[in-house]
Structure formats: C-alpha cells, structure tokens
Symmetry: C3
Subunit: 467 residues, 3 copies
C-alpha cells in the first residue's frame, strides 16, 4: 500500500504554472479570434431599427431575443447548475464536479461560438452572433459536460480543457455534417449532443483506463448530503429539459410541441425508473443513483423527435422504455463495462446519454419516416422538415434514412475522436492524479478542514486515508 | 420499547414487487388513455400555419407559448424543487422528501392532464393540450404536494401514489364545480389548490393518526444543513410565486397585475413572519420553521385576488396579516391540533396552506364583491370577471357570493374526499412503516453509510437508534 | 479569554421586542405609504384595453410584462438565492446569510418601490408601478445585499434593517442624480449598484471596526458543504447576470446586446480567475473563495457598457482583466485592507463589487465616448444614448465625461452616506453581538443541535467554543 502510494505521489499534480498558462493563453487566443471574427447579429446590433424596417417588422417583440431568451436561460442553468451539481454526488469531489464543470463550460462556450459560428453564422468574413448562437454554444458544451461525466474524478483540469478544445471542434464538424450535409433534424441533440458526447467520453475513459482504481473504491460513493446536492442538478435538468429540446426549434408550434413532448416523456420516465430501481434490488429499496440519472433518460430520447408530431402518447412510450433501459443499464451494464471492457464510467453516462441518445436517434428517424402531409398539413410538413430548395423533393422515408445515417456518423466521429483525444490525454504532461488520489478534491483544491468527513487525512496525504 | 419495536418490525415495508407493479400498471394505463384521448392543441400542432391564418394572427409571437411558457417553467420549478426541497428539513428524510415528491408529481401531472382535459379541453372526442394545460396539471399536482406535507415521513410511496390518483380526480371535480358551475375566479388557486389540498391532507393525516409517533420525536427535527436545503425550497417558492398566481390569468394587464400583487404580498409577509417568530419565542430568537414556511403565506392568500384590482397596498395588508396568522399557527395551533385533535401535520400545512387559503378565498370574495366599473373600466370589468354569455347580468356582489360558495364547496369535497382516501390508505396492504421507523429514509431508500449522523444505526435496524 | 467573553456577553443581543417592533412599525408605514401613493401602471391596470387603443397596440404581447418579466424573475433569483446563498460559505452563519438577506431584501424592495417611484414614476400624485419598477426595486436592494457582504456576521438584524432604510434612500438619490441630472447610462448598475453599494458597505464596516475579531477566526472559514451551498449562489448570479444587465435596457437590440456582452465577459472572467487562483497559491491549488466570487467580476464590470456596442471581444477583454484584478484583490488587498486600514470585509466585496464596479464605470465612459453614428447607425445612436430633447446636442465625448462624473458622484455619496449610516449603526442600541460571538447563527437563531459541527457548544455559550 505504502509503495503504491509512493508511486502515486510520484505523479506530478502541481498545477501552479501549467493551469494558469493554459487558461491565459487560450483566453488570449479567444480574444484575438473574437476580435477578428465575432460581431453582433442584426437583431443585437444597434442598427436594428433599420433592420426592422427592412424586414417589415412592426414591433421590437419580433426580435428573436423574445422568442428564445427564456429558453436560453433555462439551458444555461442546465449546463452550469444541472450538470455541475448532478456530479456532486461523490463524497469528496464536489468542488471538482461543480468547479471543473464551470471551468470547462466557460471556456467551451467561447470556442463553440467560434467553431459553430464559422460553420453556421459566417457572413461577409464575420461571425454574427445572437441569442440562438448562445444556445447552440451551450448545447455544444453540454456534450463536453456529458463526456466529463465518464472521467469525473480521474483527470486534471488541464486534461479537461484539452478535451474541451478538441471535443468542441469535433462536435462542430459532426453537427455540420448532420445538419448541413445530411440535412438531418436534431433540435434537442439526441445525436449531436448525447450520442456523440457519450460515446466520445466513453472512448476517452477507455483509453485512460486505470487498473488500480479499486484503491479508492470508498471515495466513489456518496454521503447523505452529497446525494441531496446531486438532486439539485437532477431536478434542474429534468424541469428545464422541455426548454432544452425546444430552444432552437422553429418559432411557434414547433417550440410549443417540443416542450409538450419532452414534458410527457420525462414524466413517464420517472415512473419506470422508480419501478425498476426497486425491482432490481434485493431489498426492494430505491437507489439514488437511478433517481438522479435514469429519470432524465426520457429527455435525451426525445431530443430528435420532440419538435416532430411524436404526439404525447408517443412521448410517454419513449419515456417509459428509456426509464427501464437506463436503470437496467446502471444495475447490470455499468459493472460489466468496467470489469470486461475496462470502461470506467464514473457517472454512468452510458446509461443516461449513450443508450437513450441512440434510442432518440432511432425514434427521430422513425418519426420522420412516418411523417405525412395529412398529419402535418401541407405547409407544416414542409416547414417541419425544411423540405425547401435542394431538399424540395426529399420524401419522409428518405429523410428517415438520412436521420439514421446521422446516428452512424455521430458514432464514428465519437469513436475516432475519442480515441485520438484519449491518446493525447494519456501523455504524462497534464498533471493527472495517481489512482489512489482519484475522486478527491484535495489534489487540486484548497479544502477546508472540517469536522465532517476525513478532510484532515486529505490534508496530510502522507498519512493513510483510512485509519 | 423492544416490544413496540417488534410490533413495528412486523409491518411489511418491502416494496420490491408492490411499488414496481403500481408504477408500471399505472404508467401503461396513462399510455393507453393518452393514446385514445390526448392530442396537441392547435397552437402546438403542425397545422399551426393554417390556424394562424384562420385567427388572423400575423406573427408566431402570438402563440400562447410565448405568453405563458416562462411562467410555466417557474411553476414547474416550484412543484419539483420548491415543494421537494421545502420538505428536506427533516434530518433523515431528505431522499423521501425530494424523491417521493418527484414520483407523485410525475405521475400526478399525467393523470391531471387527462382529468382536467376531460373537463376543460375536450373537443371532438380528444383532449387538446397546450402550455396552459401543462400549467394546470402542475397546479393540480401542487395540491397533492401540499397534502403530502401533512403526511410527510409517515407513508409508503405506494400510499402516496394512491393518494395522488384520488386527489387529482377530486381536484378536477372540485375545480370544475368552482370554475364552470359557480363561475368563480381563482387563477392562483387559493381555494382550488390551497384550501382544498390542505384540508384534504389534514383529513387524511387525521385518519392515519399514529398514537406512538413520539417514539421518533428526535427524527422530526432538522440538522443545520437540512435547514439550508429547505431554504432552497422556500426561496424558489417565494420568488416564483408571482409567476404562479399570474400563470393562467388573462393575457396582458391581468398577468401583469397578478405578478405585482403577489410580489407585494410576499414582501410584507416576510416582515411580519420575522417579527412574530422572534416575539413568540422566549429567547427572542428566530425559528427556521417559521422562516421556511410562514413567509410564503402571503402568496397563498392572494391566490384568488391577485389578478383582480386588489392594489399593491391591499396586497401588503393581506401579506401582513398572513405572516402573523401563519407564524402564530406554528407556535400555538400545530401542537394543539396534534395533542387535542390528533392531527399530526409534519410540515404544518395548516399554517401555510389551510388558513392562508381560506383567507385567500375570503379576500377574493370581498375583492370581487367590491369591484366597480369605475375601478376596472367598462371593458376591464367584463373581462376581469368574464361577465359574458350566461353571466352577462351577474353583479359583483352576486359574484362575491359565488366566490364564498366556492370556499365552502372546496372544504366539503376536501373533508369528504380526505376521509374516503384516508380510509383507503389505512388498509394494511400499502407497506407503510411502523411508528418508530417514520421520518427515516432507510426504510425505502438505499442510504449511504457516512460519518455524518447516525446512518450506521439506520442500516442496522435491529440495533437501537439511540446508543 | 474568559474576561473578554464576559465583556462580550455583556452585550445585549436579545431581539424579542426590538426586532418585532421595528419590523411591524416599518411594515405599517409601508402599508400607509403604499395606500397613499402606489397604484398600478397603465399596463397593469384593468383599464389596459382602453390604453391599448390609445397607444395603437394590436396585441397583448406588446405589454411590457412580456418584454421584461422573464428577466425580472432571473434578477429576483439573483437577489434572494444568488446573494443569499453566496454568503452561506461561513461554517456557522448559513441561517444568517440566507435569512437576513431575505429579511432586508423583502423590506428593501418595498421601500425602493416608494423611493424610486417618487423620483421616476410619479404621475398625478401617484406612483404607478409595473414590472420595470419591480426590477428596479430588486436592483436597488442588490446594492444593499452587496453592502451586507462586508458586514456579514457582525451585525444584528435590526442594524441591517436600519442600514437598508438609509441605503435605499441614498441609492435612489444617487440614481436620480446620475440618470436624470447627469443623463448617464447605467442599465446594469456598475456605478449605481456596485460602486455605490460596495463603497457604502466598506465605509460602514470601517466605522464598525472590531479590534478583537481574530477571536473568532476559526468561524470565519468554511466547511466542505457550506462551500457547495455558496456555489449555488455563485452559479445563479453568474448564469442570470446576462438578464441582470439587460433587464431594463431598451426593448429589442439593446436587451439582446446586453445579454450577449455579459455572457462573453463572464465566460472570460472564469478562466482568468482560475488561472490566478492557482498561480497565486504556493501549492498551485484552486481556492473556492476565488471561484465563488471573482468569477462574477466580469458581470459587474460590463454593467454600464453591456447595452452599448462594447462588442463581444471588448467584453472578453473586460472579463479577462476583472478576473485577474478580483483574484489578486482577494489574495493581497483584502488582508492589507484589514490589517492596515481596518476594513473588515467578510465577503471581499471590495474585490467583487468595488473594483470591478469602478472598472465598469470607466469602461462605460470610454465606450460612450467612443460611440459613433457609424457604429450605431443614425437612429441607433440617438436611441442608445437617448440624445433627445434637452440632450439632443450632447456629443459622445461629453457623454463620456458625464459618465465619469457619475462614478465620482456615486463614490462621494457612498463614502458620505456610509460614514453617516456607520455612525448610526455604532449606537449601542441595536443589539449586535460581541466580537467572539460574530459569525455564529446561535445568537439570533434557534439552531438545531446536531452531530455535525460544534452546535452543542453554541447552545451553551458559557462553555468555551473550542474544547
């Protein structure tokens, strides 16, 4: 034990110069790139009065700000409080969960504004940003937060920043292929955010496999109050998911419909999660891990189809299935992935994002393929799938095929990108901790000495953690 | 002591097959009923473009989604985080508070969409749902969350689901009688949500009276951090209450006014709560129980009248009174109700919802009776009270009378319904815990072993809880 | 030690009659003043239908409620949850942080509605209030919450109420001078809220200097979970700050732009805070105090300029600088201010609000001075700076000069007002605690006895706090 510890201690987790250097250099790069490229969209620019006349708008309320800002704020809460607090369930990794999530998301949204801007909002040599860009940047970072869930507690903040840089880039490429080349619909991001983010993260954690992780098995659990903190994250994700899936849908009925479908799917998901959580445990007791996570699978799984005519009962069915799949995943699949495939998935993103994301992609493909002019109305049909211009003649079944292709592309880019980024993160220069120091805030944070828990021992790493 | 414990242990709290069965069966029933009945309202349906033309709307911003969605999200937070965390004040019942609230609300909103839909949104054999239905479903479930407060810690999750099923049904009936038959105004639900929900819950807890509850007196208290978790619930309820009371008011001035009145009432309520909390305690110290609860009474008590011309100073007066009534209730009435009337009211809903709800109904009746065309304007008067069609000739004083009748009807249905449901819940098949295991998460939840608190003992129920 | 304690105990912290008296008298005063003065604005009044015709509005969606209510709710959360929880970092002052913040803000918003109403919304002898007044009242109280941060843990609730009364009054005067007399722009309140509030609070805490405060040095720290509670406050402030800075901007592009600029500034600020937090600590570890506070400086510092054409990269630069300034302030300036200038600044508001507020005022002055018709467009230029009527001929550089004058005025009123109010609070009649009882909830709150922490000792103040 002492020897392993010594080996561990040999790892240099000293952040003093490396972390500041990365943060400062990258932020300077952001400033330069923003200076060269980023300007306000016409709706946020002071020339708006002229724009309004040009667009024949009679009121300021027609500014996209009023259509999307409330949803943006909900999404913003999901990224920072939702994901941040969801990951505080570990007994001694709350600072890292909330703090590193804060760091990577704050960096990620800037880089995402650029990457997505170049692909989607580039006009006359400038990226013109408005509220929809902010939402999309938050979405993009959402996929990084998901991947973070797989490696939670096992990486240094620098590794997280490096991963964010690459993952945001790959996200934007994948998104461009799906939305622009394949002309796929994915407003809530079942494919672009969840499938991509989760399989990317799982690949990374596979590459970073740590054989001795059972050394800190005791720190991978929760304490009573850390489980309550995590429920803050869960509930904000659950409550605001209707905003997430509707945030960038078309104005009017599409936003309205996406919110309703997501609301229904999530409600059903809670019941099947509770059912299977109790059923799969010998004593029949509910497990907070399931409640914290599997209840959200229903939101993931209608990410593609929520804005379509999935219908409320269709949403209930999707939520019903995903609560089961996700809970079963936590009970049987996560241990299997760890022991057999060496995939150490701290938060179980395979159950919350990967499988429900795939289901979401498939449900989206089916819903698109099943669309008819009868159900959508002639105009509604064209508007819902944007069958205009080059896509005027695309049929629902062809659209369904392209949707399915979108899943495959997302998977391929996730695996390839994850492997590449995992390999980069394996370099011994990023300051990650030894196995026995994983899941412990004390490595990267000033931790207050307190009477609760074993903080004292953490401040004295040369003493054994367990007395 | 040992003998009582043995009797207690004899109670079968094993949930493994019963809870899953109930959850799965009911969710399947929801899917079938949604499949038969629930469709999108025209504003959420893909035919919206045609609808827009039909209604002569020039912009998507006229979709009801943009009038109500921000309020809906606030209400949603109140139900799941507000009520859920408000009840985490107990030292060892945080999982049950947040988790069971989550479960019952997720089921309740589905059943409420159906029940309220049949009464209010049934067209051509289908229930057509939009964002207003989502708000109303959340409202309906709010009354169940209130009743849950009375029985918190003393019931099994199955009992809660059974209660939700019945209470939602009765809520919808009562609401129908009030809104449609009596033509009563109650946008913030002083009568339909608070009076009904609270007296229903109090009746249920009276029927479920447990004589030996003082056995777990120590677990009925809070710890330092559980009180802070509860303040999260309190503050979200307090902050978003203006959205609650304005969420389904008429577009325009009514929503605007309801938010202002509620804001004022709540502000005044905080000051009188603090005053009486200090005054009624010998040492003059503030009591977190009062701050967590009585500060909210002002929101309850303007639930009926907030959208009327109550005026800001009228709202202050209502809030002023309710802070006092509610705090005095916690100090004197709750112990009296428990010792004399055998009403064991865990969260003190009598003080937070029952009395302020009654006051709210009365204030609403008076405000309606005092309405004049002078104050409201000719058009405003008709619009505010919907004095059209069959109600064209109704006068304010008659309206006041009907409002008062609404209180009586709500009370009657609450008492009768509570008695019925209490009797059903008393059946020995639902898996509730013995008295000495009340207020303890360990019965229904996997609880992490931790250094904080006496979790260890809870994992070993055959050992005495107090050393 | 025992002797000091005895001296301390001599201080009379008994609140039983004083606190209720102040609360009740003041609330009665509010009711009377509201009764005489406060009515609904035309947009919240039942005569709205007539108003709509008069203003040629075709839809209810044009009601200001729909332009500003979502932002209002975000600001509301910032004041009550944001500031309240940000201050819960102290290990034994969570009740005081959240509870007293709740009390002073609930009183302050009422008094602010009156004070600001007399200055800005007084028509025909009445103050006409709408949603914008609610936001402004919250803003005004924000400056009190800031000042509260400096004296956190050292004052009685009565002192806080007295301070609120005076500070709100002075805030309104200062705001009137800036906005109406100097015709200065300050939508996000870098000057009126942050500079004024912070220097006011710092002056007050200087006057209330306590020489023996090191006696309770141990209670000035945090514990693990109190730091997580504080992060709830931090994140809500951080996430909703775009709403704060855009809440009362002009409809349309100005609100849109203010949100984007703030979003950018805050993102950059996180990275430089993390960088310097690690860099300035010998062990290179991150300090939660910095993450909780300095990450927000970027929002403060674009308070004046966010609605101007600051541009996204300009915002990044401001955020970049402020993260550094603020973090450096925490490490070097706070100890200096305390030891040399006897300014005991519990939350470090000098670093989070004072310096960034000054920077914000300066950035605003420069941005205004640099404005051109080219950048803003002819109409946009006039609209952005309201160069109409008496100000038709004001040039950008003159505007810049007035903006700078606004900083000076805010500082002067803050210092003078702070000195006056500090002197009043020093009177020995308000029930503040002795030095060794500071930062301890037990003085003013019923604190549950629990196994976590040293609650037991707090309940027995005659026993020494440290065993």
């Amino acid at each position: 034990m002492e020897r392993t510890r010594h080996q561990g201690m040999a790892k240099n987790t000293y952040m003093r110069w490396r972390l500041p250097l990365v943060c400062l250099l990258w932020e300077v790069a952001m400033i330069v790139l923003f200076g060269v490229f980023v300007r306000f969209s016409p709706e946020a620019d002071a020339h708006w009065e002229e724009e309004k006349r040009k667009m024949n708008l009679t009121s300021d309320i027609e500014n996209d700000f009023y259509f999307r800002y409330p949803s943006f704020q909900d999404v913003h809460v999901m990224i920072f409080v939702g994901f941040g607090f969801l990951m505080t369930f570990l007994k001694r990794y709350g600072f890292g969960a909330v703090g590193f999530n804060f760091l990577l998301a704050a960096f990620g949204i800037q880089w995402a504004l650029l990457m997505q801007g170049w692909f989607h909002s580039f006009k006359g040599g400038k990226i013109l940003i408005g509220v929809e860009n902010l939402i999309n940047a938050d979405f993009c970072v959402g996929s990084v937060c998901i991947a973070f869930g797989a490696i939670l507690g096992k990486t240094s903040p620098i590794q997280l920043l490096v991963m964010t840089l690459f993952q945001v880039t790959l996200f934007a490429v994948n998104e461009y292929i799906l939305l622009n080349l394949l002309h796929v619909k994915d407003a809530g991001g079942s494919m672009t955010i969840h499938t991509f983010g989760a399989y990317f993260g799982l690949t990374v954690t596979r590459i970073l496999y740590r054989p001795n992780l059972e050394q800190c098995k005791d720190k991978q659990g929760s304490v009573y109050h850390s489980d309550l903190f995590a429920m803050i994250g869960t509930l904000y994700l659950w409550m605001y998911w209707p905003s997430f899936n509707s945030a960038i849908s078309d104005h009017g009925d599409a936003q309205h419909r996406a919110a309703i479908n997501t609301y229904c799917s999530l409600a059903a998901c809670v019941l099947t999660t509770m059912a299977f959580s109790s059923m799969l445990q010998k004593k029949g007791k509910l497990d907070m891990v399931h409640i914290q996570n599997a209840t959200l699978a229903g939101g993931v799984a209608v990410g593609t189809s929520a804005e379509m005519m999935l219908t409320p009962y269709g949403s209930l069915i999707v939520g019903f299935i995903c609560g089961i799949v996700s809970t079963v995943g936590y009970v049987y699949l996560t241990p299997f992935l760890e022991s057999r495939l060496h995939i150490q998935d701290t938060c179980g993103i395979h159950n919350l994002h990967a499988m429900p994301g795939l289901i979401g992609g498939i449900v989206g493909a089916i819903t698109a393929a099943a669309a008819t002019e009868d159900v959508y109305g002639k105009e509604g049909f064209i508007k819902a799938f944007d069958f205009t211009g080059a896509y005027q003649t695309r049929t629902p079944s062809v659209q369904g095929g392209f949707q399915a292709a979108g899943i495959v592309v997302s998977l391929l880019i996730a695996f390839a990108g994850g492997a590449l980024v995992g390999a980069i993160l394996k370099l011994p220069i990023w300051g990650d901790a030894a196995a026995e120091n994983c899941f412990e805030d004390d490595i990267y944070w000033e931790v207050p000495e307190d009477e609760e828990g074993d903080a004292y021992h953490m401040h004295n790493p040369d003493k054994p953690a367990s007395p």
